[in-house]
């Protein structure tokens, strides 16, 4: 199957804010040599804690940020080689849905205008705005009478539907959804997850689903990348990752999810009493928190190894 997205050894560094009179602080690596690919009509989950580089990676994929090294190829086009006009065109093929439908929709705009805005911003002439907007709203399960109403008249779940309709406007092939359900109530989360799956089937789009909700990731995603301190530490199909979890950080994340079955007690798999100072510059990024860390982990950073076909792990102790 052709790939919709190829991320090839991408690194992005930021300079930490320095003091008022200094010219800038040390470099901070937000995304560290990440390689990923995404097949057409599949869903890739990106999980990891805050500060692990998930959102920076999303910005690199959309061409909002430029990588310091490496390449991002979206739907056959390398983003960093494009002119700004070319980039604008490429972006029509990849749209974003944000976590908070309360702040991502302009409260002064009517829903009809909100869903057409991406088309207008792309300079497209819309023959029949009302019909176009109504068709978009229908796709996300909203009635046409929503067109003339304002975001505040809708519940959180309905607003997220509006945000999804907006993302669909330019006919994208890829939608990046950054925590799209975490601010919603449980019953509404299920509705939005079902909607995302229906749209995937119906329109053949692909998703990148950024989330810390591992149960939702397992349910929605075909493939999962686990990020820690800017690195992808484990990548596999969702079925494989949850059945044969290899990286100690992935295991820690799984052990932290409270299971809604009281009979399945979860115990956090983390080494306690670390200094909190972070790993040394040469050490494996997870070595300071890893319950399995040994001397070898402090001396060199592990490579990204394919341990079984399609299952990649960055850990010195994969084989032990």
């Amino acid at each position: 199957m052709p790939a919709i997205l190829n991320v090839d050894n991408v690194t992005k560094r930021y300079r930490k804010a320095g003091g008022l009179f200094s010219s800038g602080g040390e470099l901070f690596t937000a995304v560290d040599g990440v390689s990923l690919s995404l097949e057409m009509n599949t869903t890739l989950g990106i999980v990891g804690e805050s500060g692990s580089g998930k959102t920076t990676l999303a910005k690199l994929i959309l061409g909002i940020e430029k990588p310091d090294s490496g390449r991002v190829v979206l739907d056959g086009k390398e983003l960093s080689s494009l002119s700004s006009a070319g980039l604008r065109k490429a972006r029509r093929g990849a749209q974003m849905v944000f976590q908070d439908p309360y702040s991502s929709l302009d409260p002064r705009m009517k829903v009809g205008d909100l869903v057409l805005e991406p088309l207008r911003a792309a300079g497209e002439k819309i023959a029949d705005g009302e019909k176009t907007a109504a068709a978009l709203l229908e796709k996300v399960g909203l009635k046409a009478d929503a067109l003339r109403r304002y975001p505040h008249e809708f519940s959180g779940g309905q607003r997220q539907r509006v945000a999804i309709a907006r993302a669909l406007a330019t006919g994208p092939r890829l939608i990046l959804a950054d925590e799209p359900i975490s601010s919603l109530d449980i019953s509404i989360q299920a509705q939005i997850m079902n909607l995302l799956n229906e749209l995937k089937k119906e329109l053949g789009i692909s998703y990148i689903f950024i989330s810390h909700d591992l149960a939702a990731v397992r349910y929605l995603c075909d493939f999962v990348a686990v990020m820690y301190r800017g690195c992808v530490v484990e990548y596999a199909s969702a079925a494989e990752l949850f059945r044969d979890t290899r990286h100690p950080y992935t295991r820690l994340l799984l052990s932290a999810v409270p299971d809604p079955d009281p009979a399945r007690k979860t115990v956090l798999e983390e080494r306690r009493g670390g200094s909190g100072a972070g790993p040394g510059p040469q050490a494996c990024v997870f070595s300071d928190r890893c319950p399995r860390a040994e001397q070898a982990c402090l001396g060199g950073r592990p490579g990204y190894e394919e341990i079984t076909p399609g299952h990649f792990v960055r850990c010195c102790r994969t084989h032990t």
């Binding site: 804690e49 019953s187 799956n197 932290a256 409270p258 009281p262 956090l268």
Partner: protein, 330 residues
């Protein structure tokens, strides 16, 4: 579990309304529950269901314009609903303390951590700042913050989100409360930090014997941590039950629908999740009958005409549903 001590706190038929533009709207209706010493009570429900108010009205932390219409809250032999503001302030912080969701906004950014930790001790125990400081250092250590002495002189922005929530917990523990009300204390945190904080709270509970009222929308946390569960819907307690029984055999159709809509490890990916169609009623509308009837998969005629009372469905169990009528009415 059969020989229960006296309840620490008892909420009886509590109703609260809020007046906007002179017109009162009922936001809590006939809420009943008890908290026993040392137990973790989880309060769940969707946003706007009244779960936060159902807990905070206990110490009369009410939004502007809200008032208690009827019912009472018995705590230590007193009805908290009838206390003066001043008497109530003695209870808040000392006997019953609170931890809120957002440690970023509930700590004062321009005061040192030491000053903020010392405040409840100065307020309720009559200590001076200098007298309170050693106790503050002890509190920080208790919540797992190392280098406590130096940390006291720092400001909230020097702390990570998880560390700030630890500080909030230390503040809540300062006066040795016998009940802590925690409103979504880990919602803003990473899952690993969430697990660390909840482990910490469990350990502190064991040590001090205090009770915890945990407001959360995360049923996983409820399953793992709670002894007893209250389910709120439309300002009412729809079900109350010991946690293990609640997960094994939820009595109320709303509880069942809520549990069914969770993605589970046993689910087949790609198969549609069960959802609860429709939306909860807004507080302004007050149709007759059960407020869940329009969304209920188990609805029958009686539900639309008359609101069900609470029916007892077992030991410390009740459900507000005509389907539970076989038991005897409370």
């Amino acid at each position: 579990m059969t020989e229960k001590p006296a309840p620490l706190l008892e909420v009886r038929d509590l109703s609260v309304s809020v007046s906007r533009d002179g017109a009162p709207t009922r936001i809590l209706r006939g809420v009943n529950y008890r908290i026993y010493p040392g137990e973790t009570l989880a309060i769940v429900g969707e946003s706007g269901s009244g779960k936060t108010l159902g807990a905070l009205s206990v110490v009369r932390l009410l939004p502007p314009g809200a008032k208690i219409d009827s019912g009472g809250v018995l705590y230590g032999g007193k009805d908290l609903a009838s206390l003066s503001e001043e008497e109530l302030r003695e209870v808040r912080g000392a006997g019953i303390s609170m931890v809120f969701q957002e440690p970023m906004t509930s700590l004062n950014p321009v005061l040192t951590i030491g000053l903020q930790l010392a405040e409840p001790l100065m307020e309720h125990k009559g200590l001076s700042y200098a007298q309170a400081l050693p106790a503050c250092a002890g509190l920080l250590e208790k919540v797992g913050i190392t280098d406590a002495k130096n940390r006291l002189a720092q400001y909230p922005h020097n702390f990570s989100g998880g560390m700030r929530q630890r500080v909030m917990i230390a503040m809540a523990l300062a006066c040795g409360p016998d009940l802590v009300i925690a409103d979504e204390p880990t919602t803003a945190l990473d899952v690993t930090v969430q697990a660390q904080i909840l482990d910490l709270v469990d350990a502190l509970k064991k040590e001090s014997g205090m009770a915890l009222a945990l407001i959360t929308h995360n049923l996983g946390i409820v399953a793992q941590r709670a002894d007893y569960v209250l389910v709120f819907y439309a300002g009412r307690v729809f079900e109350r039950a010991p946690a293990a029984e609640f997960f094994k055999s939820p009595a109320n159709p709303y509880s069942r629908a809520l549990l069914n809509s969770l993605p589970r490890w046993s689910d087949k990916p790609g198969e549609p999740l069960k959802t609860i169609e429709g939306l909860p009623p807004s507080f302004d509308e007050d149709p007759p009958g059960c407020p869940f009837a329009p969304r209920c998969p188990e609805v029958f005629e009686k539900c639309r005409g008359q609101e069900p009372p609470e029916f007892r469905t077992g030991e410390r169990r009740a459900s507000k549903c005509w389907r539970s009528e076989a038991g005897f009415e409370l």
